[in-house]
């Protein structure tokens, strides 16, 4: 496997377009091993410089694992992940708990459907919105005021997206997937990681999700990293693309550059798309 020719990108090629901003996340020497197998090995990677970035690669390349290493849902075997806040402050995410990472504004949606079985769609959204000062065992009142405060926000999402019954449970797989993404958006993340957001979603909902993501990114509210197998979406949406294979980021650049590169054709398109 390691004999395959790869172009590792510890420093991006000079041909990259002008850098549009400072990175939000910097990964240094990040590896993840399961048993004896290294599933992610990233000497250096900067994320969040370009608004919406794509992360592509064949099945099992380690894309989901890489995202989980960022959010600390999975602890790295080695290496550090540093978050650069808008105010210039730097925090090491590696070693933090996953919930602390989310509270820093780094939030990930799930590839595999995840839901809270006992919460309705609206309750799930209220959970995402509830501030920690409301979540104490002796805070027994103020539910009505909280619902009133949250109503406008929740309604904008309910109007925008197609939920059959907001006061029922998410029924179909598509609704659960959509709710998962909406929960993430409700947290107002500064860095959003979307893991195959279109898988299982009807095309109309996918379009609406991507439209909202583009709006928020254009407004400078957040940067985004998207994993997708729908490459047309990647080429259309992303300003920058990272290509992963066998645990390593072997190629990065603009969509045009990545598309044109022979490595991609050989390692990805060649195997699964032709």
């Amino acid at each position: 496997m390691s004999a395959a020719p790869t172009r590792t990108d510890s420093t991006p090629p000079a041909a990259l377009p002008a850098r549009t901003g400072e990175p939000v996340l910097t990964l240094t020497d990040v590896t993840k091993r399961y048993g004896g197998r290294t599933v992610v090995d990233v000497p250096r990677l900067e994320l969040g410089r370009h608004g919406i970035e794509g992360l592509i690669g064949p099945n099992g390349a380690g894309k989901t694992t890489l995202m989980k290493l960022v959010t600390q849902a999975v602890a790295p075997t080695t290496g550090t992940v540093v978050h650069h806040a808008a105010d210039g402050g730097e925090r090491r995410l590696s070693g933090m708990s996953a919930d602390a990472v989310a509270r820093m504004g780094v939030v990930k949606s799930n590839q595999v459907i995840q839901d809270f079985d006992s919460l309705t769609i609206r309750e799930s959204m209220l959970l995402a919105l509830a501030a920690s000062r409301r979540e104490r065992f002796f805070s027994l009142f103020g539910e009505r005021a909280f619902r009133r405060e949250s109503e406008a926000t929740i309604d904008t999402y309910l109007e925008r997206f197609g939920f059959a019954d907001p006061d029922g449970h998410a029924g179909s797989a598509g609704e659960k997937k959509l709710l998962d993404i909406v929960r993430c958006l409700l947290l107002r993340p500064s860095f959003l990681l979307l893991d195959e957001p279109t898988a299982g979603l009807p095309q109309a909902e996918t379009d609406k999700v991507m439209e909202l993501v583009r709006e928020r990114t254009a407004a400078g509210e957040m940067s985004v990293l998207i994993i997708e197998h729908d490459l047309d979406l990647i080429w259309d949406t992303c300003a920058h693309v990272h290509f992963m294979a066998e645990g390593q980021v072997v190629l990065q650049g603009t969509p045009a550059e990545v598309r044109a590169d022979a490595t991609l054709a050989e390692k990805y398109l060649g195997t699964s798309h032709v």
Binding site: D99, A100, F116, E135, F137, L140, E143, A164, L187
Partner: protein
């Protein structure tokens, strides 16, 4: 009527513990199989402080509650990020340790000889009136716990603890410090189990280690599972149908031939076990069912579609 005050007080105690177990297991998903460990710790601490240290009952109860809560916080911190099986075994082991201490630390506890007498915390002059008033206090506390459970299930904190039970990693990914919440909630609810145990000390009046055997835990669990673990009134209905039926109706009003009366406790546990198995087989959400799921028509259909 007088003969009913003691069993009704015991019933109220079981309902209180059941409401607390509903909060722990029904709402937060914490598998506490050591209920009697926490109530028993509170019971013995209260009694020791009242009898050996000659402290007033109220102060003893507060100290017992706080100490039980601190012990639960330490235990919770050690075990609450383990899986359910481990939590079950660890809490069961904790209760066994508390029982063991009650037999070995006999300078304090009186060992198997027993510890007594714990007086009722107030005296209305007439013994019957006093015990009746104390029963009233226990019923009021049971009602307060049930009301708390109902209210908390409707506010952000209730959604939070349910989300932890449903899918803890997902709750964590939304920024909820789930481990800290579990430890705090476990400590508070176990502290209250200690309070209930302390109040029970005055009902029992004479404490023997047998009171700390797992029977109490089983009875509370059976009541909750029978009634419905996710229902606020689950433990109440379950306790009525188990403890209420056996300890009150059968023992008070059914003529049992003398030679069988010794068998009664064993028959009772066997019957409880049978009922529990039938409920789990045929009505796993308990007799009251799972109210939440019913409110969402079509959810079950949609999920399988």
């Amino acid at each position: 009527m007088d003969a009913l005050i003691f069993p009704l007080s015991t019933l109220a105690i079981i309902v209180c513990l059941g409401a607390l177990l509903h909060l722990q297991f029904g709402q937060a998903g914490i598998v506490n199989f050591g209920v009697v460990g926490f109530s028993g710790l509170g019971m013995y601490l209260t009694a020791i402080l009242v009898i050996e240290a000659e402290q007033p009952f109220g102060l003893a109860l507060v100290i017992a509650t706080v100490v039980t809560g601190l012990v639960a916080a330490a235990l919770g911190w050690l075990i609450l990020d383990l899986d359910n099986e481990a939590v079950l075994v660890a809490t069961l082991a904790f209760a066994t340790i508390v029982w063991h201490l009650s037999t070995t630390e006999d300078q304090l506890t009186g060992g198997v000889v027993g510890l007594g007498t714990v007086p009722l915390p107030f005296d209305l002059g007439d013994y019957r009136a006093t015990t009746l008033a104390y029963l009233g206090v226990l019923v009021a506390i049971a009602a307060a716990l049930v009301l708390y459970a109902r209210q908390v299930s409707r506010v952000p904190y209730g959604r939070l603890i349910r989300s932890i039970q449903d899918n803890e990693p997902l709750a964590r990914s939304l920024g909820k410090p789930t481990f800290r919440h579990k430890v705090v909630f476990f400590a508070v609810t176990c502290a209250l189990m200690g309070t209930i145990g302390g109040l029970d000390a005055a009902v029992q009046q004479f404490l023997v280690p047998r009171l700390l055997l797992a029977d109490t835990t089983f009875v509370v669990w059976i009541a909750l599972i029978l009634g419905g673990r996710t229902r606020v009134l689950g433990a109440f209905f379950g306790a009525l149908l188990t403890v209420g039926l056996f300890d009150i109706v059968v023992e008070q009003y059914v003529e049992v031939p003398r030679e069988y009366s010794l068998l009664l406790p064993d028959l009772q546990l066997m019957a409880f076990g049978m009922v529990l198995m039938l409920v789990i087989l045929f009505r796993p959400a308990g007799l009251l069912g799972d109210g939440r799921k019913r409110r969402a028509p079509g959810a079950a259909k949609g999920a399988s579609a």
